[in-house]
Subunit: 159 residues, 2 copies
Amino acid sequence: MPLEIERKFLLGDFEPPDTAVRLRIEQGYIAIKDDGTEVRLRRIGGSRVLGVKRKASSVGAPVRIEVERELDEQEFTELWPATEGARLVKDRYTFEASGVTVHADVYRGGLAGLRTVEVEFGSEEEAAAFSAPEWFGAEVTGVKAYGNQTLATRGLPGS
Amino acid sequence: MPLEIERKFLLGDFEPPDTAVRLRIEQGYIAIKDDGTEVRLRRIGGSRVLGVKRKASSVGAPVRIEVERELDEQEFTELWPATEGARLVKDRYTFEASGVTVHADVYRGGLAGLRTVEVEFGSEEEAAAFSAPEWFGAEVTGVKAYGNQTLATRGLPGS
Protein backbone atom coordinates (compact mmCIF):
# COMPACT_ATOMS: atom_id res chain seq x y z
CA MET A 1 0.00 0.00 0.00
CA PRO A 2 1.74 3.19 -1.17
CA LEU A 3 1.39 5.44 1.86
CA GLU A 4 3.54 8.52 1.87
CA ILE A 5 4.70 10.03 5.14
CA GLU A 6 7.07 12.94 4.81
CA ARG A 7 8.40 16.01 6.58
CA LYS A 8 9.46 19.16 4.75
CA PHE A 9 11.86 21.95 5.71
CA LEU A 10 13.13 25.17 4.18
CA LEU A 11 16.72 25.17 3.05
CA GLY A 12 19.20 28.06 2.97
CA ASP A 13 22.21 28.11 0.65
CA PHE A 14 23.36 24.61 0.04
CA GLU A 15 25.92 22.80 -2.06
CA PRO A 16 24.67 19.40 -3.25
CA PRO A 17 27.19 16.66 -2.42
CA ASP A 18 29.00 14.93 -5.29
CA THR A 19 26.95 11.81 -4.65
CA ALA A 20 23.62 13.61 -5.16
CA VAL A 21 21.44 12.44 -8.03
CA ARG A 22 19.94 15.44 -9.83
CA LEU A 23 16.60 15.20 -11.62
CA ARG A 24 14.64 17.96 -13.28
CA ILE A 25 10.99 17.82 -12.20
CA GLU A 26 8.17 19.56 -14.06
CA GLN A 27 4.79 19.12 -12.51
CA GLY A 28 1.35 20.46 -13.11
CA TYR A 29 -1.97 19.89 -11.40
CA ILE A 30 -5.01 18.82 -13.39
CA ALA A 31 -7.12 19.15 -10.26
CA ILE A 32 -6.73 20.31 -6.69
CA LYS A 33 -9.80 19.69 -4.55
CA ASP A 34 -10.88 21.19 -1.26
CA ASP A 35 -10.71 17.77 0.40
CA GLY A 36 -6.99 17.59 -0.43
CA THR A 37 -7.31 15.26 -3.41
CA GLU A 38 -4.95 16.15 -6.23
CA VAL A 39 -4.48 14.89 -9.77
CA ARG A 40 -1.00 15.59 -11.04
CA LEU A 41 1.12 15.25 -14.13
CA ARG A 42 4.82 14.96 -13.51
CA ARG A 43 7.81 14.71 -15.79
CA ILE A 44 10.78 13.53 -13.78
CA GLY A 45 14.00 12.73 -15.61
CA GLY A 46 12.90 10.62 -18.59
CA SER A 47 9.59 9.44 -17.17
CA ARG A 48 6.09 10.92 -17.26
CA VAL A 49 3.60 10.09 -14.59
CA LEU A 50 -0.09 10.62 -13.92
CA GLY A 51 -0.71 10.58 -10.18
CA VAL A 52 -3.73 10.83 -7.93
CA LYS A 53 -3.25 11.59 -4.25
CA ARG A 54 -5.93 11.52 -1.60
CA LYS A 55 -5.72 12.43 2.05
CA ALA A 56 -6.67 9.49 4.21
CA SER A 57 -8.55 10.11 7.40
CA SER A 58 -5.85 8.90 9.73
CA VAL A 59 -5.56 10.27 13.26
CA GLY A 60 -3.98 13.70 12.78
CA ALA A 61 -1.05 12.23 10.85
CA PRO A 62 0.08 13.48 7.41
CA VAL A 63 -0.76 10.20 5.66
CA ARG A 64 -1.70 10.23 1.99
CA ILE A 65 -2.79 7.63 -0.51
CA GLU A 66 -1.09 7.79 -3.89
CA VAL A 67 -1.70 5.99 -7.17
CA GLU A 68 0.66 6.57 -10.10
CA ARG A 69 0.79 5.43 -13.71
CA GLU A 70 3.34 6.00 -16.45
CA LEU A 71 2.23 7.95 -19.51
CA ASP A 72 3.83 7.99 -22.92
CA GLU A 73 5.05 11.25 -24.41
CA GLN A 74 1.93 11.80 -26.50
CA GLU A 75 -0.49 11.17 -23.64
CA PHE A 76 1.49 13.52 -21.42
CA THR A 77 1.58 16.23 -24.07
CA GLU A 78 -2.16 15.93 -24.75
CA LEU A 79 -3.10 16.20 -21.08
CA TRP A 80 -0.54 18.88 -20.11
CA PRO A 81 -2.73 21.86 -21.22
CA ALA A 82 -5.20 20.86 -18.46
CA THR A 83 -2.58 21.97 -15.90
CA GLU A 84 -2.40 25.57 -17.08
CA GLY A 85 -1.99 28.01 -14.20
CA ALA A 86 -0.90 25.24 -11.81
CA ARG A 87 2.65 24.29 -12.68
CA LEU A 88 6.12 24.32 -11.16
CA VAL A 89 9.64 23.38 -12.15
CA LYS A 90 12.39 22.32 -9.77
CA ASP A 91 15.68 20.46 -9.65
CA ARG A 92 15.62 17.65 -7.15
CA TYR A 93 18.87 16.51 -5.53
CA THR A 94 18.56 13.14 -3.80
CA PHE A 95 21.25 11.96 -1.41
CA GLU A 96 21.93 10.30 1.94
CA ALA A 97 22.52 12.61 4.88
CA SER A 98 22.19 12.25 8.63
CA GLY A 99 21.20 8.61 8.17
CA VAL A 100 18.20 9.29 5.93
CA THR A 101 17.46 9.85 2.23
CA VAL A 102 16.74 13.51 1.56
CA HIS A 103 15.23 15.24 -1.47
CA ALA A 104 16.52 18.82 -1.74
CA ASP A 105 14.40 20.83 -4.18
CA VAL A 106 15.76 23.93 -5.90
CA TYR A 107 12.84 25.71 -7.54
CA ARG A 108 13.11 27.36 -10.96
CA GLY A 109 11.16 29.89 -12.99
CA GLY A 110 8.75 32.04 -11.00
CA LEU A 111 9.69 30.20 -7.83
CA ALA A 112 13.48 30.79 -8.19
CA GLY A 113 15.10 31.42 -4.82
CA LEU A 114 13.04 28.87 -2.97
CA ARG A 115 14.75 25.73 -1.70
CA THR A 116 13.17 23.00 0.37
CA VAL A 117 14.19 19.58 1.64
CA GLU A 118 11.92 16.58 2.14
CA VAL A 119 12.46 13.37 4.04
CA GLU A 120 10.18 10.34 3.59
CA PHE A 121 9.53 7.86 6.35
CA GLY A 122 8.27 4.30 6.54
CA SER A 123 6.01 4.94 9.50
CA GLU A 124 4.49 7.75 11.51
CA GLU A 125 6.62 6.74 14.49
CA GLU A 126 9.79 7.12 12.42
CA ALA A 127 8.60 10.52 11.17
CA ALA A 128 7.91 11.72 14.71
CA ALA A 129 11.30 10.47 15.95
CA PHE A 130 13.30 12.24 13.22
CA SER A 131 15.56 14.99 14.49
CA ALA A 132 16.37 17.52 11.76
CA PRO A 133 20.07 18.17 11.18
CA GLU A 134 21.50 21.67 11.69
CA TRP A 135 21.62 22.54 7.99
CA PHE A 136 17.82 22.19 7.66
CA GLY A 137 15.84 25.43 8.03
CA ALA A 138 12.40 25.96 9.52
CA GLU A 139 10.00 23.02 9.28
CA VAL A 140 7.10 23.64 6.87
CA THR A 141 5.43 20.22 6.99
CA GLY A 142 1.73 20.81 6.46
CA VAL A 143 2.20 24.57 5.96
CA LYS A 144 -0.12 25.29 3.05
CA ALA A 145 1.88 28.21 1.62
CA TYR A 146 4.83 25.85 1.03
CA GLY A 147 2.81 22.97 -0.32
CA ASN A 148 3.46 22.18 -3.98
CA GLN A 149 -0.20 22.82 -4.83
CA THR A 150 -0.06 26.34 -3.42
CA LEU A 151 3.37 27.09 -4.88
CA ALA A 152 2.17 25.96 -8.32
CA THR A 153 -1.00 28.07 -8.24
CA ARG A 154 -0.10 31.08 -6.07
CA GLY A 155 3.68 31.41 -6.44
CA LEU A 156 6.15 32.27 -3.68
CA PRO A 157 4.69 32.95 -0.21
CA GLY A 158 4.34 36.68 0.32
CA SER A 159 4.69 37.45 -3.41
CA MET B 1 -4.42 8.76 -30.60
CA PRO B 2 -7.56 7.95 -28.58
CA LEU B 3 -10.05 10.50 -29.82
CA GLU B 4 -13.65 9.91 -28.89
CA ILE B 5 -16.42 11.16 -31.14
CA GLU B 6 -19.91 10.19 -30.10
CA ARG B 7 -23.57 11.13 -30.38
CA LYS B 8 -26.08 10.51 -27.62
CA PHE B 9 -29.86 10.11 -27.69
CA LEU B 10 -32.64 9.49 -25.19
CA LEU B 11 -34.28 6.10 -25.31
CA GLY B 12 -37.87 5.14 -24.49
CA ASP B 13 -38.86 1.63 -23.48
CA PHE B 14 -36.57 -0.84 -25.07
CA GLU B 15 -35.93 -4.56 -24.99
CA PRO B 16 -32.21 -5.38 -25.40
CA PRO B 17 -31.68 -7.93 -28.17
CA ASP B 18 -30.47 -11.41 -27.21
CA THR B 19 -27.08 -10.60 -28.72
CA ALA B 20 -26.53 -7.60 -26.42
CA VAL B 21 -23.58 -7.72 -24.03
CA ARG B 22 -24.61 -6.37 -20.64
CA LEU B 23 -22.08 -4.73 -18.32
CA ARG B 24 -22.72 -3.02 -15.00
CA ILE B 25 -20.91 0.34 -14.90
CA GLU B 26 -20.23 2.24 -11.70
CA GLN B 27 -18.50 5.53 -12.20
CA GLY B 28 -17.49 8.42 -10.03
CA TYR B 29 -15.75 11.69 -10.76
CA ILE B 30 -12.67 12.71 -8.79
CA ALA B 31 -12.67 16.04 -10.56
CA ILE B 32 -14.82 17.95 -13.02
CA LYS B 33 -13.27 21.21 -14.20
CA ASP B 34 -14.82 24.26 -15.81
CA ASP B 35 -12.69 23.70 -18.93
CA GLY B 36 -14.35 20.29 -19.41
CA THR B 37 -11.49 18.22 -18.06
CA GLU B 38 -12.66 15.27 -15.99
CA VAL B 39 -10.90 12.69 -13.87
CA ARG B 40 -12.96 9.57 -13.49
CA LEU B 41 -12.97 6.22 -11.74
CA ARG B 42 -14.93 3.51 -13.44
CA ARG B 43 -15.70 -0.09 -12.59
CA ILE B 44 -16.97 -1.83 -15.69
CA GLY B 45 -17.56 -5.56 -15.53
CA GLY B 46 -14.45 -6.93 -13.82
CA SER B 47 -12.12 -4.05 -14.64
CA ARG B 48 -11.35 -0.83 -12.78
CA VAL B 49 -10.12 2.18 -14.66
CA LEU B 50 -8.72 5.60 -13.88
CA GLY B 51 -9.42 7.95 -16.77
CA VAL B 52 -8.62 11.55 -17.62
CA LYS B 53 -10.57 13.28 -20.37
CA ARG B 54 -9.81 16.68 -21.80
CA LYS B 55 -11.72 18.69 -24.37
CA ALA B 56 -9.51 19.41 -27.34
CA SER B 57 -9.89 22.74 -29.12
CA SER B 58 -11.09 21.36 -32.41
CA VAL B 59 -13.35 23.38 -34.68
CA GLY B 60 -16.74 23.13 -33.01
CA ALA B 61 -16.66 19.35 -32.99
CA PRO B 62 -17.22 17.23 -29.87
CA VAL B 63 -13.70 15.80 -29.86
CA ARG B 64 -12.15 14.68 -26.59
CA ILE B 65 -8.78 13.36 -25.53
CA GLU B 66 -8.85 10.39 -23.20
CA VAL B 67 -6.15 8.57 -21.24
CA GLU B 68 -7.04 5.47 -19.24
CA ARG B 69 -5.17 3.15 -16.92
CA GLU B 70 -6.23 -0.01 -15.13
CA LEU B 71 -6.26 0.03 -11.33
CA ASP B 72 -6.17 -2.91 -8.99
CA GLU B 73 -8.98 -3.44 -6.49
CA GLN B 74 -7.11 -1.85 -3.60
CA GLU B 75 -6.13 1.27 -5.56
CA PHE B 76 -9.70 1.67 -6.77
CA THR B 77 -11.12 1.25 -3.27
CA GLU B 78 -8.64 3.73 -1.80
CA LEU B 79 -9.42 6.41 -4.38
CA TRP B 80 -13.20 5.85 -4.58
CA PRO B 81 -14.04 8.09 -1.55
CA ALA B 82 -12.68 11.05 -3.57
CA THR B 83 -15.72 10.67 -5.88
CA GLU B 84 -18.33 11.23 -3.15
CA GLY B 85 -21.32 13.22 -4.41
CA ALA B 86 -20.43 12.56 -8.05
CA ARG B 87 -21.33 8.98 -8.85
CA LEU B 88 -23.68 7.03 -11.06
CA VAL B 89 -24.59 3.42 -11.76
CA LYS B 90 -25.93 2.07 -15.02
CA ASP B 91 -26.29 -1.13 -17.01
CA ARG B 92 -24.78 -0.85 -20.47
CA TYR B 93 -26.12 -3.01 -23.30
CA THR B 94 -23.81 -3.10 -26.30
CA PHE B 95 -25.04 -4.44 -29.61
CA GLU B 96 -25.06 -3.91 -33.38
CA ALA B 97 -28.05 -2.06 -34.78
CA SER B 98 -28.70 -0.04 -37.91
CA GLY B 99 -25.16 -0.81 -39.07
CA VAL B 100 -23.40 0.68 -36.06
CA THR B 101 -22.38 -0.40 -32.56
CA VAL B 102 -24.66 1.16 -29.96
CA HIS B 103 -24.34 1.43 -26.19
CA ALA B 104 -27.76 1.58 -24.53
CA ASP B 105 -27.46 2.75 -20.91
CA VAL B 106 -30.16 1.93 -18.38
CA TYR B 107 -29.51 4.04 -15.30
CA ARG B 108 -29.96 2.71 -11.75
CA GLY B 109 -30.31 4.13 -8.25
CA GLY B 110 -31.25 7.80 -8.09
CA LEU B 111 -31.25 7.98 -11.89
CA ALA B 112 -33.65 5.06 -12.40
CA GLY B 113 -36.02 5.66 -15.30
CA LEU B 114 -33.41 7.31 -17.51
CA ARG B 115 -32.26 5.46 -20.61
CA THR B 116 -29.82 6.78 -23.21
CA VAL B 117 -28.09 5.38 -26.24
CA GLU B 118 -24.63 6.34 -27.50
CA VAL B 119 -22.95 5.72 -30.82
CA GLU B 120 -19.21 6.19 -31.31
CA PHE B 121 -17.68 7.21 -34.62
CA GLY B 122 -14.26 7.02 -36.19
CA SER B 123 -14.40 10.51 -37.64
CA GLU B 124 -16.37 13.72 -37.42
CA GLU B 125 -17.61 13.16 -40.98
CA GLU B 126 -19.03 9.79 -40.01
CA ALA B 127 -20.68 11.32 -36.93
CA ALA B 128 -22.30 14.03 -39.02
CA ALA B 129 -23.52 11.55 -41.66
CA PHE B 130 -25.20 9.25 -39.12
CA SER B 131 -28.97 9.08 -39.42
CA ALA B 132 -30.60 8.00 -36.16
CA PRO B 133 -32.97 5.01 -36.43
CA GLU B 134 -36.63 5.41 -35.49
CA TRP B 135 -36.32 3.78 -32.07
CA PHE B 136 -33.87 6.48 -30.89
CA GLY B 137 -35.46 9.38 -28.98
CA ALA B 138 -34.41 13.03 -28.93
CA GLU B 139 -30.73 13.75 -29.50
CA VAL B 140 -28.93 15.05 -26.39
CA THR B 141 -25.38 15.18 -27.74
CA GLY B 142 -23.66 18.03 -25.94
CA VAL B 143 -26.72 18.77 -23.78
CA LYS B 144 -25.18 19.40 -20.37
CA ALA B 145 -28.16 18.17 -18.33
CA TYR B 146 -27.73 14.71 -19.89
CA GLY B 147 -23.96 14.59 -19.63
CA ASN B 148 -22.65 11.95 -17.23
CA GLN B 149 -20.90 14.64 -15.18
CA THR B 150 -24.17 16.49 -14.58
CA LEU B 151 -26.22 13.33 -14.02
CA ALA B 152 -23.67 12.15 -11.43
CA THR B 153 -23.62 15.44 -9.51
CA ARG B 154 -27.11 16.90 -10.05
CA GLY B 155 -29.32 13.87 -10.68
CA LEU B 156 -32.14 13.62 -13.21
CA PRO B 157 -32.90 16.75 -15.27
CA GLY B 158 -35.80 18.62 -13.71
CA SER B 159 -35.54 16.74 -10.41
